[in-house]
């Protein structure tokens, strides 16, 4: 054993100022990263907790099924149905479209087109949703009337880059060696894509689609100009404005009545619960996808 007090300690036991400083820096960086990560988790927990605390008392079967009412208790049944229709229509438009875009970019496009499309999708994803709302207002609402159809087109535009980008990512995760095996067996490129690449990436693609659905369900801005003037009853015809949860939350919160504020929180809780359920489903599916691909590597 080298004596730390001796004139020349063993190099392994040396603790020069430099080493001490490196240790301190290491610890400081590690700590701040840890705090940042904790904060991110805490923010989500706080949002969920405060919405739950303020909203849970107004949640009841009646609240979930009854129509909205200007006076008296009322519920958000018509808004839930309307949001379902809006998001459903938007999904029908955005998911097949987005998947085709993803298949083209990852399997067929040349290097240049690929990067152009990826960049375009990123920019589209960055377009503020209020701008998307105004754009659709100008295109489909101005001169006509508000409609669920216009609202779902606006939501579909929000969803498209999310679906296309996430599907593109998982399609490129399928190992090139697997795609090559298909081509080398004499399958054409589209046959390889449909019979081998897409099935391999399927759960990851569904994950991407689900996350886009969750995002669209909570979007308010695209709906403000397109489907925000609606009555207090169930409306299922997308050629007219459809009641929906996000705009309804906004309306509740604008109301002078404290009871309506409580309903705004409760409606927010319903929305957040929906988003959480979808995210968990997406998470389970993507874990399955990773297991499958893990085996393929």
């Amino acid at each position: 054993m080298a004596d730390p007090q001796s004139a020349s300690p063993h190099p392994l036991l040396e603790t020069s100022g430099n080493l001490r400083r490196r240790r301190a820096v290491n610890r400081a960086v590690e700590l701040s990263a840890w705090v940042a990560a904790l904060l991110a988790v805490a923010i989500l927990a706080l949002v969920i907790a405060s919405v739950t605390v303020k909203g849970i008392s107004s949640i009841s079967l009646d609240f979930l099924t009854a129509n909205t009412a200007d006076f008296g208790p009322g519920g958000i049944g018509n808004a839930i149905i309307g949001t379902g229709i809006l998001v459903g229509l938007a999904t029908l438009m955005a998911v097949p479209f987005g998947i085709l875009v993803a298949i083209y970019t990852s399997e067929f496009a040349g290097r240049r087109n690929q990067s152009v499309i990826r960049y375009t999708l990123d920019v589209l994803n960055g377009v503020p949703t209020i701008v998307t709302g105004i754009f659709i207002f100008g295109l489909l609402v101005a001169g006509h009337q508000q409609s669920g159809f216009a609202g779902s087109v606006a939501l579909a535009i929000v969803m498209l880059p999310l679906v296309a980008r996430s599907c593109h990512e998982v399609l490129t995760l399928v190992p090139g060696s697997v795609k090559e095996a298909g081509l080398a067996l004499g399958a054409s490129r589209w046959r390889t894509t449909l019979s081998i690449t897409v099935p391999t990436a399927l759960s990851g693609m569904i994950t991407g689609a689900l996350l886009a659905v969750a995002r669209a369900a909570g979007e308010t801005a695209p709906l403000l100009f397109t489907t925000s003037i609606f009555a207090n009853f169930v409306e299922t015809d997308p050629s007219g404005a459809l009641p929906n949860i996000p705009v309804q939350i906004f309306k509740f919160s604008e109301s002078p009545e404290p009871a309506k504020h409580a309903q705004a929180w409760a409606a927010a809780l319903v929305l957040i619960a929906f988003v959480l359920v979808i995210s968990v489903a997406a998470r389970i599916l993507s874990a399955r996808m990773r297991r499958r691909l893990g085996a393929a590597r």
Binding site: G110, V178, A181, L183, A184, A187, S195, A296
Partner: protein, 299 residues
């Protein structure tokens, strides 16, 4: 005419097909009427290696990188040809030109001729799908289809070429037998191909390639991801398969070339340095560079 043995389905009657024997290949361009249909469905056990592959002044490029520089080389039926050489010498690129997988890489192109008997596989009237039905390939890493069972993996190529449903089961069994995998998997044909060991996965990939009964089998370092025992099994299999199909094997393992190949070709910097009987290549090569490489002076 014993090689008129198989029922090679061509989905599109307009699709260009390869003539089945030198006798039929009097005109260098294949005609759509080339007889391709035989009476008896063939099986892997009835296959015989009959076809030559000849590379004539083959050049291959990745963008401006000239990876293969004017190779002339023949692959004989009933014969295993090994291609050896240091990493990056263009040996994989060269064999990937034979089934036109090279052109799948963005920016890649090739020049020169690749003759299967006497039809140029790179000719503009030859369909790439037809080429790959006659020239099978086994890759460096085992790559079974992750979503498919063992039997579906082997059946996949047959399904791509539209083999009648009723025939598939028999041909899958025959291909698994041909790849020396049947006894190990016969009780779990419907379990995932990914559940097999690495060596079994590679034999599954060989079975998948054999199921469509190719004339030529390209093997691109098929054992580089396998342990010695699995490697030995594949090498034994190559010894059996060479009677059934013309084999080209890329390897960076010189001992492996010594064990499996009848003919060995040595490549360096995209050029074919020397080709000859394997024994001669390892004991008494003509070229100094070959001698230096096989004695371990570089590479």
């Amino acid at each position: 005419m014993n090689y008129e043995r198989r029922d090679l389905k061509v989905a599109d009657p307009e699709e260009t097909t390869m003539p089945r024997s030198p006798g039929e290949a009097e005109s260098p361009t294949p005609t759509p009427e080339s007889p391709m249909i035989s009476e008896t469905p063939a099986r892997v056990e009835d296959m015989h290696a009959t076809r030559h592959v000849r590379l004539e002044d083959l050049h291959a490029y990745y963008d401006s990188n000239h990876a293969v520089r004017g190779v002339n080389l023949s692959f004989e039926p009933g014969n295993v040809t090994a291609i050896i050489g240091p990493s990056g010498c263009g040996k994989s690129t060269m064999v990937r030109c034979i089934n036109r997988m090279h052109e799948e890489i963005p920016g890649a192109r090739s020049e020169g001729r690749v003759l299967l008997d006497d039809v140029d596989l790179h000719a503009s009237n030859v369909d790439v799908v037809a080429v790959r039905r006659l020239v099978g390939m086994v890759f460096q890493k085992p790559n079974p289809f992750p979503t498919m069972s063992i039997s579906d993996n082997v059946a996949s190529g047959l399904r791509f070429i539209g083999t009648p449903r009723g025939e598939i089961k028999d041909r899958v069994d025959s291909a698994l037998e041909g790849a020396g995998l049947w006894s190990e998997v016969k009780d779990r044909l419907s379990s995932p191909g990914m559940g097999l060991s690495g060596g079994q996965q590679q034999r599954l990939c060989i079975a998948r390639a054999l199921a469509v009964e190719p004339d030529v089998l390209l093997m691109d370092e098929p054992c580089s991801a396998l342990d010695p025992v699995a490697t030995l099994k594949i090498e034994e299999l190559i010894g059996v398969l060479k009677e059934k199909v013309t084999i080209a094997i890329v390897t960076h393992n010189m001992q492996q070339a010594g064990r499996v190949a009848d003919t060995t070709a040595f490549m360096l910097d995209g050029e074919l340095v020397e080709v000859g009987p394997t024994d001669k290549m390892f004991t008494n090569p003509d070229d100094d560079r070959t001698e230096q490489y096989v004695t371990g002076k570089f590479g």
